[in-house]
């Protein structure tokens, strides 16, 4: 079974502080991991995917197969980072499906 776990439903940090949104997964094969972001009243947008190994809006995420994690990190949070963040998994065995975590609501306090 494929499972994505985001243990924190809510996360608040001060502006300028580091932020880490946790994501753990359970998957028997080689997964593709993604982070999607949903700003208030907007669509889900791709933030980054692990295979591209890029940094978007200062966010990075490293796939740790040993810990089965794909935590999202940013060294200095900005107010505009306040949003809902979803970790998602896809893979050969999932066919066309993405499996989403329950999401973490990030609030950056000015």
């Amino acid at each position: 079974a494929q499972r994505v776990t985001q243990p924190e439903k809510l996360l608040s940090v001060f502006k300028g502080a580091p932020v880490e949104l946790k994501c753990n997964y359970s998957y028997s094969g080689s997964p593709e991991l993604f982070w999607y972001v949903q700003y208030s009243r907007q669509r889900l947008q791709l933030l980054l995917r692990h295979i591209s190994r890029e940094s978007i809006k200062g966010f990075t995420a490293d796939l740790n197969k040993g810990e089965t994690s794909f935590h999202l990190k940013k060294p200095f949070a900005q107010e505009e980072d306040s949003a809902m963040y979803y970790c998602a998994l896809s893979g050969f065995d999932t066919g066309n499906q993405f499996y989403f975590g329950t999401g973490t609501s990030l609030t950056v306090i000015p």
């Binding site: 593709e32 993604f34 999607y36 907007q42 669509r43 889900l44 947008q45 791709l46 995917r49 295979i51 979803y86 896809s90 893979g91 050969f92 065995d93 999932t94 066919g95 066309n96 499906q97 993405f98 499996y99 989403f100 975590g101 329950t102 999401g103």
Partner: protein
């Protein structure tokens, strides 16, 4: 940048009524999806569609749901007889290919069943 577009953005309907949610996927994409997000809950997969037929569907996608690609651009989700528990945000999405490809989402259609 091309986007997935959805209409309506918000619809209120009475229980038992039929609802059609419309989507225009990105033009060169071949795979289309519907996801649902009940308020306060996670995004859930409903159905995927490829080559004019359903390729996968979840347990949520029961007989009251159907999808159609009536022409070369639209992709619709029909709920035949809405129930209160169908109230949710419905997201259409599309992708170029299968597993591992990025899925692009529309802004969602918020359905309220009263």
């Amino acid at each position: 940048e091309p986007e997935v577009t959805q209409t309506p953005s918000h619809q209120v309907t009475q229980m038992g009524q039929e609802v059609i949610l419309r989507c225009v996927p990105i033009s060169n994409h071949l795979y289309f999806y519907w996801y649902r997000q009940i308020l306060g809950q996670k995004v859930e997969f409903l159905v995927s569609f490829y080559n004019n037929e359903i390729s996968e569907k979840s347990e949520i996608f029961d007989d009251q749901f159907s999808v159609e690609r009536p022409d070369g651009s639209n992709f619709t989700l029909k709920i035949r007889s809405t129930k209160l528990e169908d109230s949710a945000m419905y997201f259409c999405a599309s992708s170029i290919g299968v597993s591992g490809n990025t899925i692009y989402f529309g802004e969602g259609s918020w359905l309220t069943v009263v």
